[in-house]
Point group: D2
Chain length 390, copies 4
C-alpha cells in the first residue's frame, strides 16, 4: 500500500478526458422480445442532443455526440451542429447503418450483387458528406453482415468483396478523416460474421492505409477473451482507432461500462496508457455504446462516463516504477500487488473534490436527480413518437 501514488500526482492527467456519447443511447432500446419505453424519451435528434449535453453539463466528460445515419438524418447539419454547440457539445463520429434495409438481408458491402454493394457504398459516401457538414473526423463502420447456416454463403468471396468495398469508401475520405472498422463476434448473424475478430479488422484496415483503424467494442468478443491484450496489440500495430465501451456478462449485453467486471475495465485502461492511447497526444477515441433497457437513460450515461473516469484515475495510480521492478525481478505476487493496490484505492472522494474544483457537481448522479431535468422532459415530451433504433 505504501507504494501507492497519491491522487494529487495524477489529477492533471484527468484534464481533458473526453468520452463520446452515442445519440441512440437516449432512445428506447431492448431485446428481440420487448422494448420498454420510458417517459421523457426523445422524439427528435435535437432532444437526443439536449440529453447528451445534459450528461456533459453534469460531468464535464462528454463533450461530443456520435450520430447514426439514417437514425439522425436531418436536412441541415450545419443547423444541427449549431444546435449542439448552443447546448455545449459538438457532433462527433458518424456511424453508418447497413443492417435495416430489406436489400441488406444477405449482406451490404459483401453482397454478391454489385448493385446492392454500390447502394451500401453510396450510403457511406452520404455519411462522408455528413462528416463534411458536421466536421466529424471518424466514419465508423459496423458490418452487421454474415450468414446463419453453413453453406449459405461463400466466406471467401464475401471477404474479398468487403476489401473492395472498403477500399472504395476509404478513397473518398478527406485527408483528416478516418475509416474506423468495428468487429463483432456474432449477432445479428449466427453462423459466420464477416468481421468477427480484431485480426480480420486489422487485416482489412492494414490493406487500406494509414487512416484506416479499428474500433474495439468491449462487448464483441468470444467468452474469456483477454481484451486488454488486444488493446496492447492494436496500439503496438498503430491501429487502435477507438473504443465502444460497455460491459457484458454473456454476449453483446451492452450494459453500463464497468458494471459487469470493473477490474477488466481497469486492466483495459491500464493497457491503453501503457501503449500511449491516453491523453492529448493520442488519437484513440473513447465512446460509449450501450443500451439502457431497464434503467433510466440519462443517469445511465452519467454513471457510465463516471465509471470510465473513476477507473482511469485508478489506472493512473499504478506505481509503474514499482510494477516494472517487480516484473523484472520475477516477483509475481509483488507485481500483482502493486497492480491491485491501485485498483483497490478509493478515488471517489478525490474525484468529487476534483469536480468541485472544476465547477462541476461533486456527485453528478445526485445533482442530476435533484436538478428537475428528468421531471421536466417527462412533462414536456408528450406526443410524437419516441425514438428507438429508428
Amino acid at each position: 500500500m505504501s507504494s501507492q501514488k497519491g491522487f494529487a500526482a495524477i489529477a492533471a492527467r484527468l484534464e481533458g478526458q473526453a468520452i463520446e456519447l452515442p445519440s441512440w443511447a437516449f432512445g428506447n432500446s431492448g431485446t428481440r422480445f420487448k422494448v420498454f419505453a420510458t417517459a421523457g424519451t426523445p422524439r427528435s435528434v435535437e432532444e437526443k442532443i439536449a440529453d447528451a449535453a445534459t450528461v456533459h453539463r453534469f460531468t464535464g466528460l462528454a463533450p461530443t455526440v456520435a450520430l447514426h445515419i439514417p437514425w439522425d438524418k436531418v436536412d441541415d447539419y450545419a443547423a444541427l451542429s449549431a444546435y449542439a454547440q448552443d447546448h455545449g457539445v459538438r457532433l462527433g463520429t458518424i456511424n453508418s447503418n447497413t443492417f435495416q434495409d430489406d436489400d441488406y438481408k444477405f449482406g451490404a458491402l459483401t453482397h454478391v450483387d454489385a448493385k446492392v454493394r454500390q447502394k451500401a457504398i453510396d450510403h457511406h459516401f452520404e455519411c462522408i458528406d455528413v462528416m463534411g457538414a458536421t466536421g466529424s473526423r471518424d466514419l465508423k463502420i459496423w458490418l452487421a453482415e454474415g450468414s446463419n447456416y453453413p453453406g449459405q454463403a461463400d466466406l471467401r468471396g464475401r471477404q474479398d468483396r468487403l476489401g473492395e468495398s472498403l477500399s472504395t469508401i476509404y478513397d473518398r475520405l478527406g485527408d483528416d478523416q478516418r475509416l474506423v472498422l468495428e468487429y463483432k463476434f456474432f449477432e445479428p448473424a449466427f453462423y459466420h460474421t464477416d468481421v468477427p475478430d480484431w485480426g480480420t479488422a486489422y487485416a482489412q484496415v492494414a490493406a487500406l492505409g494509414d487512416r484506416a483503424v479499428v474500433c474495439l467494442d468491449t462487448g464483441h468478443h468470444a467468452p474469456g477473451t483477454n481484451i486488454e491484450f488486444i488493446v496492447m496489440q492494436l496500439l503496438r500495430l498503430g491501429k487502435l482507432g477507438s473504443f465502444d465501451f460497455n460491459s457484458r456478462f454473456y454476449a453483446d449485453d451492452d450494459l453500463i461500462v464497468g458494471a459487469a467486471d470493473p477490474f477488466q475495465l481497469f486492466r483495459i485502461l491500464f493497457e491503453v496508457m501503457r501503449g500511449g492511447g491516453y491523453g492529448p497526444e493520442s488519437d484513440v477515441a473513447f465512446m460509449l455504446d450501450q443500451c439502457h433497457n431497464v434503467e433510466e437513460k440519462i443517469p445511465g450515461q452519467i454513471r457510465s462516463v463516471l465509471n470510465v473516469q473513476e477507473m482511469t484515475a485508478r489506472a493512473l495510480l499504478v506505481d509503474t516504477d514499482a510494477l516494472h521492478a517487480a516484473q523484472d525481478a520475477g516477483d509475481v505476487l509483488g507485481a500483482h500487488q502493486v497492480f491491485m493496490d491501485a485498483f483497490y484505492t478509493d478515488v471517489r472522494a478525490d474525484l468529487a473534490g476534483w469536480r468541485e474544483e472544476h465547477g462541476l457537481p461533486a456527485d453528478p448522479m445526485r445533482a442530476y436527480a435533484e436538478s428537475g431535468y428528468q421531471a421536466e422532459i417527462e412533462a414536456s415530451r408528450v406526443g410524437g413518437t419516441q425514438l428507438s433504433w429508428n
Copy 2:
C-alpha cells in the same frame, strides 16, 4: 461397419413420431436490429395453423401446433380447434407470455409487487382455461425474468416468490394437465435469470408435484454444456417433460435443429432412447422452437422435422448390444466406433422409401417447392398486418 443394424430393423420405431410446431415460427422474427418480412407471412392464427398443417401434410411428422397466449388469442377456441382438425392437425401445448407487458419490466411471477404477481398468475389461469377449451395437456412456462445489474434485484426473494407463484398455478391444473417449466441461460436478462439452468427448474418442479416437469430447450445452455447428460439426468429423475428443439453456434440463436451440430442432435436423441423418453409409452414431448430470420419459414419447418426424423433413425441404428459390450470391456475406440457407425449411416434413401410407403412425398422439400403452396400464399395474403411476435 459390420456391426450396423439395417434400416428395416428400426423402421417400425419411426411410426407415430410427432414433433409439435410452434405457431410463431410461421410469423416474422428477427433480432433486436431488424425483423425481415417475407411475402406470404400469416396475418391470423388461422393462417399460421394452415401453414403448420402444410408442414404435416408433406412430412407426416407434425400433427400438433403449439399456441402462444396472447399472440394466438381468439374468441372461440372450439372453433379454432375445429379449424385445425379440418386442416389435419390438432392444437397442442399452451405457452404463456409474461414478457411483453410493461408491468413485467422487473418481473412477473417473481415481482416484488403482489399485484403484478397476481396479474401474471391470472394470465396463467387464463391459459389453463384455454387448455380446457383446446384439450391441451401442457402449460409451458418460460420465465423471461431476471435483472441486468448486480444489486438490482434480490435473487433469493425472487426465487421464493417464484416458488409460491408456480405453486398457485400448479394447483389450478386439471388431473391430466402438466406444468412444464423452461430454463434459459440468459436473455432477455443479462445479469441474472430466475430459472437459468436445469438444476433450478428441477428444484422448482420437484417442489410442486408429479405433474410438474421440465422443458429442455437445446439452445438455452452455457457454452460447452453437455446437453445429452442433462437429458439423461432429467429422464432418470422422472422430470423431462419436453424438448424445444433448435440449434445454435453462439447463444440462443434459434436456428434449424440439427443445422449447427448434427452429431450433438444424434447424441441427444440416443440418450432420449436410452432413458425411455422415446416412443408411444413416453410422455416426453418433442417440439420445435426456432426463428427463421433469413430463410423461408414453411420449408424451414419442413427441414427441421426431417432433421429430427433422420437423426432419430440414425440413433435407433446404434447396435446397443455391441456398444455395451465394448463399454463394459473398456474398449474406448470400439465403443466410439459402434456409436459413430450409426451416426455416419446414410438413412436418407431409406427414409424416402419409408415416406412413399406411408403415402408421403419421398422428398418433402422438393414436393413443397413444386406444390405451388408458397406462390399461392404469397399471392393471396396481401393486405393486413403480417404477424411476428404479436
Copy 3:
C-alpha cells in the same frame, strides 16, 4: 456514498472468520506440461502443516488444514493432530482420491466392475476411519470420473451406480459427519463428467439425506455461469456444504481467489450472507483449493485468505436497508450504486488496524517477507523429495 456503513459497524462480524487451507497447496503443482519446483517446498505432511500454520500465524484466518488421502497418509493421525495443534492449527476436511490409481482409468464409484467400485468405496471407508482419528467433520468427494469420447460410456448406468456407491459411503458416516460432494464442469474427462454441475450434485445428495451436502468450487463452471445464483439456490435448498475458493479466467485455472474477478468474489460473499451462510451459526465451510504454479506458495496462501477477508468486509458493508428500498422501488441504478459503493470502499487500512488490535501484523504479506521463515525453510529443507500431488 453517504449510504455507506462504516467499518466499525461491521468489524465484529469479522471475528472468527475461518478459511481452511489445503495441505497440497504447499506442495509443487503445475500443468500437464511442466511442474516448476521451488526451494523450501515441503517433503512431508508435517512440513506442509507447518507452512499452513505459518499462514494462520500471520493472518489469524486459517485455523484448520484439509488433508488429502493418500497424499497425506500417515501411520498415526493422533500424532499428526497433536503436531498440528502444537503449531496452532487443527486438521479439517478429509479429501478422498480416486483418480490416481490405474484401476480408476475408466471410473471408480461409477465403474462398471463391482470390484473396482468396492475398492473405491473401501478407500472412502478408510477416509472415514481417518476422520474418526482426526476428529474431522467433512468427507469431501471430488469425482474425477467421466469419459473422453461419445459412446465410450453409458452415462445413465454410471449415474445409477454413482448413487449406489455414494449411498454405501454415506451410511458409514457418523452422526456428526457429512458427505460433501463436489461438482466440476470438465477435466480430467473431456466428453462427459459424472458430476458436472450443481444440479447433479444436488440431486445426488438430496437422495442421500440431511448430512449430504454440496461443495461449490468457484472454478468448476461453464463460461459465463452466474455463480452467486448457485450459492443462493444451494443455500435456499439447504445443501451448500462448503466452498473451494480460487479464481479463473478460462477453465479450472486454480488461481488465487479474488485475483481474476474481485467483483465476482464480492457478489458471491454477499449472497452467502444473504442466505445465512456466513457466521458462527452457519455450517458452510470456507476452503481454498488453488495451485501456486508460478508464485511462492506461502505468500500465495496469505494473499488468498486476505483477499477473502477483505472482500467479506466489503460485502458486509452493503447498506442492505438502502439496497432493499431501491430494489423494491424498481430503482435499478440506485440499487446498483448501493451495491457498488460497498465494493468500492477501501477497507485495507481499517483491516490493518483490526489486525493490530488482534495482535496480528498490520501487513501480513510484508511481515511474512520480513520474518525470515522463507529463507529458513529454503535453507533447511534440503534433500528428500519435494511433495507435489503425491
Copy 4:
C-alpha cells in the same frame, strides 16, 4: 440428393493425401492429475517411429513423422532418417520446446532477461541444425509463454521482445525452410498468453517475411470460435502454414480429430479446398496433435487419419456449382442442403474399395487389431522407461 457428385468423381483427389503424425502421440500422455501408462508404449525415438510407420502401413495416409526437440533428440539424425526410411516413412516438422526448462518459468523468447532469450534462440538454432540433418522444411514454434496474474508481466514489452527473437530465428532459416508460428488461447498460462490468437500470429509472421506462416491447431480457440472462417482468412492472406488437427469439447482437450464435432471438421476441410489449401500445389501441411489419454495410441492415430480422409472425401463431394448457384440466388435452405448432402453421404464403403485398389486393408482398424502388432510390442517392449512428454 440428386445434386450429389459420385465418389468416382473425387477419388483421384484423394491420391497423395498426407497427414503428418507427431512422434509424441505414441508416448504416454494425460492430465495434470494422472498420466495412465499402457503396455507397449515406446521407450525410444526409434520405437515411436516404428509405431508411426505402422499407422502409415495400414492407412497409406501418414508418410511423415514430426519430431519434438529435445524429446526426440538423438546423436545421429542421418541414422534416424535412415531408420525412418527403412520403415517406410520420413522425418517431418521439427517442433521446438521452450516450456520445460526451469529457466523458462517466466518466458523464453519473451523473457525480460536477454540471457534467457538467447538460450531460447539458441535452442531454435539447434532445431534448425536438426532440420538441416533431417531435411525438414518446417520449424514449428509453439510458445507456451504468458502470465498467470494481472500485473505480473508487461504485455507490450513481451510482444516486442517476441518480435525480435522471432526475427533472429527467422534470419537463420535456409531458403527452403519455413518458420511456423502456432497460437493458443490459453494454457499453460492462465491470464495472458503471448500468442493467443490468429491475429497475433499473423501480425508477427507478417513482420518476418514470406517464409513465416501460421499453424492453426483446431483446439486452440475461444469457445464458439468459427474456425473455418480463420482458415479462409489465413489462406486469403497467404499465411496458413499448417494444421494441428485434434478435437475438443471444452478447452485444449486434444481428442481424436473429428470425434467431438465431425461437421466442424467437414466445414474446415471444405474451406481449405475453397482457398486452395488442399492438393499437390498447396504448401499447407496437415498434422495431428493429439493425446490418447485413455484409448490405445496406435489405433487412435489410425482412427484419426481415417477421419481426416473420410471427411476430406465428403468435403470434395460438395457440388460447388449447385452451391454457388444457390448462394448467389439467396436460396438459404437450398445452399445449406447442397452442403449438408455432401456431409451426410456415407463414403465409408467407397473408401474401403479405394484402399483395396491401393493395396491397403479395406478396414485399417480391424486389420491392425488382427495384425498382432499390438501384442508383439506389448510382449517385446518390457523394461526401460516408457516415454511421455520427455
